[in-house]
Every structure is written in C-alpha cells, then in structure tokens.
Symmetry: C2
Subunit: 427 residues, 2 copies
C-alpha cells in the first residue's frame, strides 16, 4: 500500500473532533479523501460510483452539529442511495436510481456524514468475484461481497463504510484488508432500502479502521450513547470456540490465534475452552439450504426479466434454490432454530466467544473471495460479531480475530473488542 | 353488496380447473373481473391503480401450464410491481415505478397468475385511514392496512390478492370483509420488493374467499404440494386462547365464538382452555416500542426528503419512534423473545389455538380501521395465523375466527382451517 498522508488517514472520531475544534473543515477532509481515491483507485478499484460533486456540496452546505458531522463514508452498491445509482453489482440494475436512501444511509446523513460514493459489491451480494483488489497486495482478493467497502476503508479513502452480511460479507473482507468489521445482532439496523439476498440472514454492517469509530457509528444507528469502551481484562471470560472448522484454519493463523488468546490470559482474562456442540458440523449445510431457497425467491423477478444478464454464480444459486422444496427449507429452518437456542446457552456462560475470522490470509488472485464458513456461523445464529486486525500471516498480510457475543450484547462486544485491540496490536 | 354473477364469482382453483378443461378462457375470466370492478369500484374504491391493458395482454399471450394459470390477482400498493406504479399510499411515492416485481408477485406471475392492479394500502402500511369502503356496507371500514386487497377479494373483483401484515393488516380486513386471510410464519415468504414497515414483524400474506385457494397459493409460494385439506375433527386438540384481550371482545362476537368452539367439540375436537401466561398483557406495549423504533428508522429517508408530505399518523409514528433509545428497544426485543419461547411451548401442546379475529364487526365510518391487538399478537410472536368467516354480528356484518399454529406448521394450519370452514359456515 502506498503510504497515505493527511486528513484521509484520520478516523471517524478524529474527524468529528477536528472539525468541531476548527482544526480543519469538512471540505478539507472530503478533499483529502477524494485525492487519495484519485491516486489509488486505478489499483484498488473500490468504487462503483463516485459522487464528484461531494466536495462542492460540502463547500456550500452549512456545517451541522450532528454526531458524524463532516465524516465521509462509502455505501455498498446494494444499499439504496437517492443521490447515486445503486446497481447491485448487476447489469440488471444498470443505471438504477432509487428514489430514497436506505435507512442506514439516511440516518448517517441526518447525523452529518457525507456519502462519497457507492462501493463495489459482488453481484447481489453473492459470491461472484469483483474487480476490487486488496489494498495490501493487488494480486490478492479483498474478500467479498462488501469488497469495495473494505478496500476503500483499508486504503484510507473513507474512514467508514456500510456493508451487508448474509454469510461472511462484512467480516471476511474486513479481516483480509486489515480493518475492523462489525455485524450487529440480526435485525438491529433497519433493512429498509437494502436489496434482499437471504432475508433470514441479511444484516447491515459497519467497516472502519478503529473499534472506537464503530462504537460511535453504532451509537448513532441505535440512538444510544457510545459505549464506554475498553473493558477491563480481569474477570473477562473468553470462550475459545475452535468449532468443527478448526481443521480448515492454516498453521500461521492457528499460531497467531494461540498467541492472541495467550496475550488475553496474560492480561487477566479467563480462557474457557468451548467444545463443539454435537451435530454442529451439519449447520453449514442447513444454512446452504435456507440461503439458496431464499436467494432464489429474492431473485425471482430479476430471473424472469433477464436471466441472460445474470452471472453464472447467481444463475447457479437461482437454479439450485428454486428447486428446493418447502419441506426441505422448513426442515433446515427448524434445525437452525434449535442451534440458535443451543448457542444462546453457550454464549450466556462467557463474555465473548473468540475464533479466527478466516482460515488465513486473503487468497491469491481475484477469482475466489475466500471461505465464508467461519464468519457465516454467527450471521445465521443471529449473534453480533466483530473482527479486529491482530496479526500478520506468513505472507505479511492481515489476519483477523473474531469476537462474538450474546444476542443484543452488541455494545458490550464492541467494548471488549476495543480492549482486545489495545492488547494485541498487529505486529 | 350487489349480487355478483359470472366467472368473477369463481375461486382460484375453480378458475384454474375451468381454464384447463376449456370451459372458459383466461381472457373471459379477466373480462368478468374487470366488468365487476367497473360496476363496483365507484362505491368500494379498492384500487390504487388498474392495469387497463390486462385483458388485451391476456388475449395475446400463450396460455401457460402454471399452477395459477389465468388467475387474476391484486397487489397491495406497498409491494413492488414492475408493470404499474407502486405508491405506498403516500404522496412521497407518487408515480414511483419499481424496476422489478416483488418476489411474491414474480412467483405468482411465473405460475401464470395475472396482476389486475394495485390495491389501496394505508400509507406505508400504517394506521392512516384509506378511501376504501367495506363491500358489505359502504358506511363501514374494510379494515386496514390491506384495505383494498380485502375489499377487492370480498367484492368478487379478484379471487385473491397479496397483502402485508406488520400488526393485523391482513387478518383484520379479511375478517371485516368476510373472507379468508392468511399470514404465514415469519420469514416464510420473501420480503424482497416489499416496503419495510417494521422489519421484525413484516410478513407477506394472502387474501382469498376459500381456504383451499389459500392452500394452493401457499403451495406455489413454498414449492410444495398443496396440503391435503380437511383434517378430521376427531382427536383435534383446540387450544381456546381468550388472552388478556377477551374483555375487549363484544358480546355478539363472544357468543358467536362460543358457538363455533361448541360446534368443533360436537364434531369430535377436544377443547383445551389455555390460561393467559403471566405478564402476557405487557406484550402489546413491548410491540409498540419495537414497532415505533423500527418504523421510524424505516422512514428516515422519506422523513428527511419530505416530512411535509407525510400524514399526521405517519409523522406521529416517526416522531415517537425516532426518540426511542436503543436500550428501550433492546429491552422490548429481549422480552418479546422470551414471550416467543413461552408461546412455542404452549402451542406445542395443541394442534391449533383459536380466538376471535377482531373484537367485533367492522366499525362504522372510514376514520378508524379497527383494533389490531388480537391479530398483532401472532404477527409479533412469528406464528402462522389464519382467519375464516364463520358468523355474522349484531349488524349482520361478518365476524372472523382466528386459528394459530406452531411456527412452520403453516400447511397443517390451513388444513385445520379448511375443516373448520366446513363445520362452521356463516349463518
């Protein structure tokens, strides 16, 4: 990554504070971000659409006193924007202009944040690869499907962006790009104005470079005070959940994970090894049934209108999903409901679960956006999850640590993640 | 209601069968429905937009072999249609033309059904009254928010329509208009292309005149075989759930309800009185908090863009909801989750719960669409519910019987409702 400099390197809170104390203006911040984009976009390719007028609009607007006043942000291209086309990463939505912003965009704008553009999304937030590259190495995937949001934030183009997660689409790219990705408990942020992928899982998420920035944005979204960050390590009960997917984790990521939990223990946290619940390995298959059934129905109209303009990946998901019977779907949903009850009991016994975010570093090439299974567990179980950068892998690329808390314990989770990010800085 | 005649009086299955056996054509069916609409629309006012070209398009199309081939239907005006404006009952969406159909519309069309138009909805599927009248008495409300869908089906303008239910917006108007209304388990039908009201509750539902028509449409939506309808009454365990709202039920509705359960007992069903769970009366208030919090955030963009074009009702919901703190919202969600577990155990002990659908007949006038509390219980608890017409009240207007089953037992519920509609025809 070419070394960034200037205001574009600041986080959300630093920008808010700096504008409030008149150290700099929103226009200067936007200008710095746009300059960074101009330099880096040819390589990173994070943007589906840029609002070229953003700086001019800021110049002519009255600075507001909102909690995010003057903070530039990016919007994943499956989230409606009234000011820019929202194209869902699909030819079928070429030039599509929603009349209104999605809820999350409207709330951020009402708090004073400034949308710089639409970030590249995999087609319909699925598994189709995108043109976006990993800011740390253009030969590697940034992950998906919130590819552009993660790359733009990691590359200092914007201090935060919205993404969506139906499987692992916020946390995986965040981990591959070395930033923080947060997926709230299911249903906490309104899905109004979001293209439905699989409605049982779809969750709006946040990408930023600092945990405390996530805390601030989360507070705006939820109408609460920002959480008191940095929880004490002492008495913290960390549930080490290796799961049935531990064997998929690469050696460098395993070693880094063991170092991270050792560091937490050294700081006073109690480690609790959580055995994988019986039958848990079947959960991935149940999710696949629900995901395909729902995605196919969510794309029924697009398929009828223009199947020929759908990518092979989306077409395959449609064909597989539309053939699934209602009985198979309900069977998978019943089983998943049971897993949710089971995990609720497990999580209740600790402050947070901890696992690697991904099996390892970002894979080489752009044709495969990485394995979603470690992240999608928590999306389907409806628990809040967050990834923080905490180490480098054998190729020097970022590795993420994933923390998971009980449903609705989102604010506590963010606090614990902040503590963790203090004790385990990437080295 | 003026006496209908001809093909418009047929139900969904009768239309499908008649076209298949060449007794009549889809064009004739559509023509009969449009003729009925022409006669009755000045009084009933069920339609926000009519597709004047429907008959001509049917004439020039090749008849398909789909499960709903040739069946006309209506679409609530908060459900996207690619062929007609979708205006959400709001000035803010005047002339709004979605690019694609909502999932439910696309699935019905793919099965051969023919959309005749958009039916009148309360603004944003809320509580604002509409211009639609009750087909049985134009001085009475048809109920809301799926006002037009219920009135159009009840008045023989279409054999079925889609509605949405966030509180009681499918079952209440169905009951007031004397037809069948079905709300599936939460999340069974895709919400793709539906304007979000309160995402924790929003459910696409069906309105028709016959339970067996609901069975067929449900099978199409879910990719299953239509349920074997008419369950035997013997050994059927009916949970009589009067709830904390029993005191709100009028005397005529109470008497009719007692007659209905006595008739079921006579046919061999076992009645099980279900006591109201402790603390259950607080559930309505918890729902109100969640509903307002989510609705306000779902309307944030519309509010920012044009608060002056929002009705007093929607403005009030927005103002109330946007002020609710995240902590209050999470507290209500936690409590509601507990109620869901509790009711799951109760419902598991019977085949179906049974309650009145509404406190009584449709209220006089159009300014109040009726009390949603008896219907919204099951929306918020995520259980499937269905209303069937089963009696007349003291003014001769329809009364509905509400049946509720365990989550995902939708097909069984429809079967039991069919049995019930055989033993307790309106008298």
């Amino acid at each position: 990554m070419s070394e960034p400099s200037g205001l574009c390197t600041l986080g959300v809170r630093q920008i808010v504070d700096g504008i409030r104390s008149r150290q700099f203006t929103a226009e200067e911040v936007v200008g710095s971000c746009l300059a960074r984009i101009q330099i880096r976009e040819p390589v990173v390719r994070a943007w589906a659409h840029l609002d070229e007028q953003a700086q001019q609009r800021v110049r002519h607007s009255t600075p507001g006193g909102g909690s995010l006043a003057g903070v530039p942000f990016g919007i994943k291209d499956v989230i409606d924007s009234s000011a820019m086309p929202t194209e869902m990463g699909s030819k079928l939505y070429s030039g599509h202009q929603p009349r209104y912003d999605a809820s999350c965009v409207a709330i951020a704008r009402a708090a004073g944040a400034i949308a710089l553009g639409m970030t590249v999304s995999a087609e319909f937030a699925g598994t189709q690869p995108t043109r976006t590259t990993n800011p740390h190495n253009p030969g590697r995937t940034p992950g998906g499907s919130s590819s552009g949001s993660a790359a733009a934030v990691a590359d200092f183009m914007v201090p935060f962006a919205f993404g969506t997660q139906t499987g692992g689409s916020v946390l995986r790219p965040a981990a591959f790009c070395g930033i923080v990705g947060f997926k709230p408990s299911f249903g906490l942020y309104s899905t109004s104005g979001i293209k439905v992928a699989a409605h049982s899982f779809d969750t709006v998420g946040l990408l930023a470079r600092e945990v405390r920035d996530i805390a601030l944005i989360h507070a705006v979204m939820m109408n609460t005070e920002p959480v008191a960050v940095t929880k004490p390590g002492r008495h913290l009960r960390l549930g080490v959940f290796r799961s049935h997917l531990w064997d998929t984790v690469h050696d460098d990521a395993k070693a880094a994970f063991e170092m991270a939990i050792a560091a937490a223990e050294e700081e006073g946290a109690a480690l609790v090894e959580i055995p994988t619940p019986e039958g848990f390995e079947g959960i991935t298959e149940h999710r696949a049934v629900i995901n395909a059934f729902e995605r196919a129905r969510g794309l029924s109209a697009e398929w009828s209108a223009g199947a020929e303009d759908m990518s092979p990946q989306s077409s395959e998901v449609y064909r597989r999903g539309i053939a699934i019977t209602g009985d198979a779907y309900l069977g998978a949903r019943r089983r998943l409901d049971e897993f949710r009850h089971q995990i609720d009991h497990i999580v209740a016994g600790v402050d947070t679960l901890i696992t690697p975010t991904t099996p390892g570093e970002a894979p080489e090439g752009l044709s495969y956006a990485g394995d979603p299974r470690l992240q999608e567990l928590w999306t389907m179980l409806h628990l809040p999850s967050i990834t923080i950068p905490f180490a480098s892998g054998s190729s020097g690329l970022p590795l993420g640590l994933q923390l998971i808390a009980a449903r609705y314990a989102d604010a506590d989770l963010i606090g614990i993640a902040d503590w963790f990010s203090q004790i385990s800085r990437p080295r």
